[in-house]
Structure formats: structure tokens, C-alpha cells
């Protein structure tokens, strides 16, 4: 009787494809980020502000998982190569979607590839995309209890941005309580409190990003 192959675990299959994607990123010598947040947490604002600051020195590309190209139009207007993964209402990106989108961008012409995931604090955490860093954006108006209530997302993050810090006082946001929740899940996580509106804290994020781009461009590092 012929042997019937069984894919044991859909997440295993995803991880295998993610590993192939990582090889493509490393061959191209680019830094790849997977940007995740709640709806309206500030993914697009962070991307736009990052592009504005780095575009003269860094060759940036953006892949966006969305149902409409509203955000990508703003990014494309800045002269940035973009690619839309039309998720058709799906709740996350997976490695297969990203792998399918890669031929639409010239990876060798990029230093930094930002993948903007679907606005969702749960499902995207389960799917590796082959990037070097999973970057989570939390935002002050969402409340300081989010690490306690969405642990998988904060546990899996490599870098955490806390956006909309200009609203810290107005919202009565307790940064210590928030950070304690994060620290329990993910000790020592790289953390940047920022405000896309005022620009506060953004330089520290950009410095970290410049260093990471440099590290991956010379091919010496291949894993975070």
C-alpha cells in the first residue's frame, strides 16, 4: 500500500516556509520586520514616520496585509516600493502569503523590509513570517493591562513600541504596571515608548533600527 504523507501540523509547515523566507532575506542582505498591533495601534504611523526619517539613507520596502490599499497609498506616495497582500478579511498573515508576495519586490534593492501585519493582537502571534524581528506596537489608549490579557503577543515579541505616549497623563496609563506585565512574559524585552504625534522617543527606535539594518546588511548576523 502506498504511504500517505501527512502534514502533522499546519504550524510546522508554516515554520518550514518561514525558514526559506529567512534565507531569501539573508541572501538579499536586508533586515526584515513583522509589525503587529491592535487595529489603530499605529502601525502605519510608525512606518510613515520611520520612512520619513530614514529614506535618504536606507532603501525601504513595505508589504501590507489588508483588505484595502488605503495605508499603502500613503506609503507609495513617499516613493517606497510596496506590495499588498489582500487578506480578504483573514485575521493574520502567514508565511505562505509573504512567500507569495516576495517576487513583487526586488529584495536585492532593499536594506529594510517592513511587513505590516493585520490589526490583531491574537492570531498573528501564532505564525512566523521568517523575519528577523517581530515588532509589537501597543498604544496608550488601549490601556495598561494589555500584556496581561494578550500574553502570547507580548511573549513572542522581539521589540516592543508603546505608542501614543502623549496621552499617558490624560489616560492615566501606568507605564510601570504595563512594563511589569511585559517583564513577566518576556524579561529584558527591548522597549521604546514613543509618540508618532510629538516625535518623543522616536530617535531611540531609529537608532536601534539603524544598528540592526547595519548588522544584517553585512551578512555577519543571520538570527536575532
Amino acid at each position: 500500500m502506498p504511504e500517505i504523507p501527512i502534514v502533522e501540523n499546519i504550524l510546522d509547515a508554516n515554520d518550514q516556509l518561514a525558514a526559506r523566507i529567512r534565507i531569501e532575506f539573508d541572501s538579499a542582505g536586508l533586515l526584515a520586520l513583522n509589525l503587529m498591533a491592535s487595529p489603530g495601534g499605529g502601525k502605519t504611523s510608525v512606518i510613515l514616520k520611520t520612512i520619513e526619517a530614514l529614506k535618504d539613507d536606507v532603501r525601504i520596502g513595505v508589504i501590507d496585509g489588508d483588505v484595502v490599499p488605503l495605508d499603502l497609498e500613503k506609503i507609495a506616495e513617499m516613493g517606497i516600493p510596496v506590495s499588498l497582500i489582500n487578506t480578504g478579511g483573514n485575521c493574520h498573515l502567514d508565511a505562505n502569503m509573504v512567500y507569495s508576495a516576495l517576487p513583487s519586490l526586488d529584495l536585492n534593492a532593499l536594506d529594510l523590509l517592513i511587513i505590516e501585519n493585520v490589526g490583531n493582537l491574537i492570531c498573528p502571534a501564532a505564525f512566523s513570517l521568517g523575519v528577523h524581528y517581530d515588532v509589537v506596537i501597543a498604544s496608550v489608549p488601549e490601556g495598561d493591562d494589555k500584556p496581561y490579557k494578550y500574553p502570547a503577543m507580548f511573549k513572542g515579541a522581539d521589540v516592543l513600541l508603546l505608542n501614543k505616549m502623549d496621552l499617558e497623563d490624560y489616560m492615566g496609563f501606568r507605564v510601570d504596571y504595563f512594563r511589569h506585565g511585559v517583564e513577566v512574559l518576556n524579561p529584558g524585552l527591548t522597549f521604546f515608548p514613543i509618540s508618532c504625534r510629538t516625535g518623543d522617543g522616536f530617535d531611540a527606535w531609529l537608532d536601534w533600527l539603524r544598528t540592526a539594518i547595519k548588522a544584517y546588511s553585512n551578512g555577519q548576523e543571520t538570527t536575532p
Copy 2:
């Protein structure tokens, strides 16, 4: 050969169970709401403020889908019967979870049952819970483009609250643009702009709620 039954569609199975749940709600003469929002959109704040306003006249119960009982503890402290569906990190509630939770509450002793869904603007929209009204809470800091980017959630809503209206001017939120996006998807949707912080607009929501509770308590209405 014995016939093998096949469940054609998991969503059909969910809908069948949702219909059974609806019968339980109608037999008990209570109004049931499914409250959905992004993480930090204000589900718990709306519930707490609604309880505060109605608890002397209305017998309220709350079922919460969460990984921790942080929110439910605040609600229980107000003397409200509560039940936690520990979602274990799942991205939505479904009819089976709600059906399993029903025996933990005395439905006949309730006029209003609020089911607080998982914080997620995508997945919960696909699963009917047998309630009378699907209530969606959007919030101003999330941005005015949300109906355009999360259409299924706004299309499926029976009632829409727009929370954190106190931040309208600060965030430059365009209510007209937001409402236009909603109107295209869901013409004539019942809409309440509110602020849990200032209380603005909350009376209109409470008036609507009192009328709905009354309608379902007399058993004359069984579908919205």
C-alpha cells in the same frame, strides 16, 4: 454500508447551536448582547458604566471571554453574577463556548445578559452567539478609517457605539468620514457616539437599552 454523517460547514454547526441558545434566552425573557471591540476599545468600561446606571432597575449578568478574570473581578465587585469563559488565548467566542457557560448563570433571574467577546475586530464577526443584538464598540483613538479596513465587523453589527469621543478633537477624528464608511456597509445602523470618561452620549445608549430590555422581557419580540 452505514451512512457517514458529515458536518458540511463548521459555521452551520455554530448557527444551529446559536439558534438553541436564542431559545434559552427567549424562554428566560432576557435581552442578550454580544459586545465586540478591538483590544482596549472600551468593552469593560461600557459594561461597568451601564451596570452602574441600570443596576437598581435591571437584573444584569455578564459572561466574559478572556484569559484572565481581571475585568470580571471589577464587575463581580458590583454584585453582578458573572461567568468566565477561559478562551486559552482563542481569538473569538463561539456558540459552543457560550452554550457551555449558560448553566453557570440563572438566566431566569436576569433581564439583561452581556457577553463580552474577545478583543478582536475580525474573528468574532464570523461566529453567531445566539444573542439579540451584536453590539460593536469602535473608539476614537483607533482612527476614523476602521470601517473601511474591518468591514465584516461593521457590516454585521446591529448597534454601533463610538467610544472615547472626548478625544475627537485631539485625535482629529472625522466622524463624517467614519459614518460614511459605516453607512456604505450597514445603512441606517443604530449609532451612539459616547464617552465613558465624560458620560457624554451615554443616556441615549441607556434609553435604547431600556427599551430593548422591555421589548424582550414581555416575550413579544424574538428577533431583532
